[in-house]
Structure formats: C-alpha cells, structure tokens
Symmetry: C2
Subunit: 190 residues, 2 copies
DNA sequence: GGCCGATGTTAGTGATCGTTAACCTCGGTG
DNA sequence: CACCGAGGTTAACGATCACTAACATCGGCC
C-alpha cells in the first residue's frame, strides 16, 4: 500500500500555489492558473483538494504547525532565555529567507481560510507568539505582557518584510542584519 | 466655479476603498462593494474614476506623495541627523497608526497598479527610502548603503505591522514602543 | 486478462466580475 | 424658462470565475 510518490503532487501544488498567492493574492489566482503552474490544466486540482479555499487552508495549517513546532523545540533545547531568544530569531529568519512565499501568504491570507480551519491556524499562531513572549518575559520582567506581545508582532513584521526587499543582499549577510536588528528591537527599553 | 464640496465624494470613495482593499485585497472587493460602502450602488463610481485600477492608482499615488513629501520636510527642518531620524520615525509611526488601511494597501497592492502609474509610485517610494538612507549614512558611515537600504526596508516592515496587531495597546504607548524598537533596530551594529 | 482506483482530460454550469449603455433628476445659469 | 452638466439609476454585455459531469488512460492486483 505504500506509494513512494504519495503526496508528491499535493506538495507540488501547494508549493506552486504559495508562489502565486504571494505574488497576486488569493483572489488574484484562478484554478486554471494553479493547474497550469504544475503542468496539468485546471480542474485536475480537485483530485487533490476539495476546493480552492481548502487548498489555502492546508497551506496555512502546514506553515503554522511548522513554525509552532520549531519554536517549541528551539526554546526547549536552549540553555537559557538569551539563547532561546537567539534560537527563535535564527529559526524565524531561516524560515523567512528560505520560504518567502509561504511567509507572505501566512500573514496576508488568513481571512480567506474557511472558519473551522481559521480557528486552528489562529490557535497555532497564538501559541507561537506566546513562546516568544514567554522567553521575553524572562529577559524583561518589568515589561507588561501586552507590551511584549506587541513587540513580538512588530518584530515579526520586521523579519517577514524580507520577501519584499529580497535579493539585495546575500543570504548570510541578511541573516546577520536581521538577527542584529531583531535582537536590538526586542531588548530595547520603551 | 468654486464648489465647496468639490472632491468630497472622490475622497469618500478613496477612504472606503482603502478599508475594503486592506481587509479583503484588491481582487476581493467588487465595484458593487465599493458603491455600497459609500451609499450609492455600483457603477456610480465611474463618474469619479475611469475604472477600478485607476482608483487604486490614485490611492497609492496619494499615499506615496504624502509620505515622500512629509519625509523631505521633516529631514530638511531637523537640526541634525539624530533629530532627523527621530522625526522620520515619528512621522511614519503617526501615519501607520493614523491610517492603517492606507499603509496596508500601500505595501501590498502595488502590483495591481497599471504600468505608467506604477512607475511613478515606485519612484516616490524610492525617494522616500533614500531620504532615510541619507540620514542613516551620516549616523553609520562605516555601513555600506546596500545594508542601510535593507535595514530601512526591514524597519518599514516593523512599523507597518501595527495594523495587524492593532487595538492591543493605547496609541501613545504604541508610538513609544515603535519609536524605541525602530531606533534600536536602525542603530544596531550588524 | 479483466477490473479498479488514481489521476487526468474537455465541456459545460450558474454566478459574479468590470464595464458600458440608456435613461432620470435636478440645481444652477444665460 | 429652457437648458445643461454633474451625478445618480437600472439593465445588460461579454469575460471569467469556481466547480461539476462525463469520459479517458493506465499501473497494479486477483
């Protein structure tokens, strides 16, 4: 029963769809566009997803789960809060630089996800944010949690902006830059 | 020939359209939606704009011009580079907090603007960025301009993310927070 | 070797889209 | 007071949309 290429097509579609959604927005991409991007034409997509919205939902659930799981692991295996923050930043930066389309779709298209899935995505996102807030709270115990949460969201904006200014700097240099800026921003007194 | 309400409808449409575009994306909003949002229905819009894309173009041109002009003035009337940077940050933050929908549309929908206007918007944006880079270059003379440009783009991502985490903090507190984070991020060595 | 499920195809469905056409109203103005 | 332009209306057009139906292909399994 094991098919060595099982899910290959599905993943291929998701990957192509991420690029298209990031470039033109969910409503700016048609089913035929999606099919054309993977070599099949049009409605072949319905063999893999029940519909366009379900495809987006699968995509956002996957990203959210990966981010949340990765964040949890990195914090758990860090030797201290300062190291945990560094690990979180490096993980998020690697993700943003490695999969810019996914990051873009992730914080733009949540409203187009149908309801039950949207709640799950939001819960995962909230969990990820709280991972960051928990670490920050140890480093800045005097700052109220609401402020820390806002600071984390702003930092995500900083890190996630890289897709829009991509290619101007080599990846390693960009990683350094974002790490320095993110650390400084998060630890700044305000 | 002076009409005391001239342009009122036009501005009303642009304002409502900014909210809708920010919430659902350019392709997710129909002409009928836009009409309904200002009390008229549907095609009345064509009395004020030649089409949907032209409406978006007018909107983005307006924002870009305001940002660029405001930035130029603030830098020109600052007493030094450190004060200029502070003025730029405060101006951008006030804009992002005051018109979150416009800021959102501004960095998401450029690709939907028809070509001649898109070039004009891009030129205005580039001018605005260079205003920031010029100030930063005085404060960090050892850092290559390409890095400064990337840092400025990342900072815009930080400042522009506020629409997505709005309402969690009072405006004055949010201004303080963003100012501190933005300053720290821009002046961080990397 | 006949069947079958997985994965395509093309043609067509009704809904919705941006846009145009044709017509109405009405507050100035010559 | 006739007129006219500004700003609305509804109806309709063709294009495109997400999705469905009906049919084709084919590798693996009894």
């Amino acid at each position: 029963m094991v098919n060595r290429t099982a899910g290959t097509r599905r993943a291929e579609i998701l990957h192509a769809a991420a690029d298209l959604f990031a470039a033109r927005g969910f409503h700016g991409v048609s089913i035929d566009d999606l099919g054309r991007a993977v070599g099949t034409s049009g409605p072949a997509l319905y063999r893999h997803f029940p519909g366009k919205e379900a495809l987006l939902a699968a995509m956002l659930l996957d990203i959210s789960e990966r981010l949340a799981a990765d964040g949890r692991e990195r914090v758990a295996s860090a030797s201290g809060p300062r190291e945990a923050l560094d690990a979180l930043l490096r993980g998020h930066i690697a993700f943003a630089l490695g999969e810019p389309a996914l990051i873009t779709v992730h914080d733009r298209e949540l409203d187009n996800v149908p309801h039950p899935d949207r709640r799950r995505v939001r819960r995962l996102q909230r969990g990820y944010v709280e991972e960051w807030v928990g670490v920050l709270a140890l480093l800045r115990p005097a700052t109220p949690p609401a402020v820390l949460r806002a600071a984390v969201h702003a930092t995500f904006g900083l890190l996630n902006s890289t897709p829009h200014s991509a290619g101007e700097l080599p990846e390693e240099r960009m990683t350094e830059l974002l790490l320095g800026m993110g650390t400084a921003a998060l630890l700044a007194e305000a």
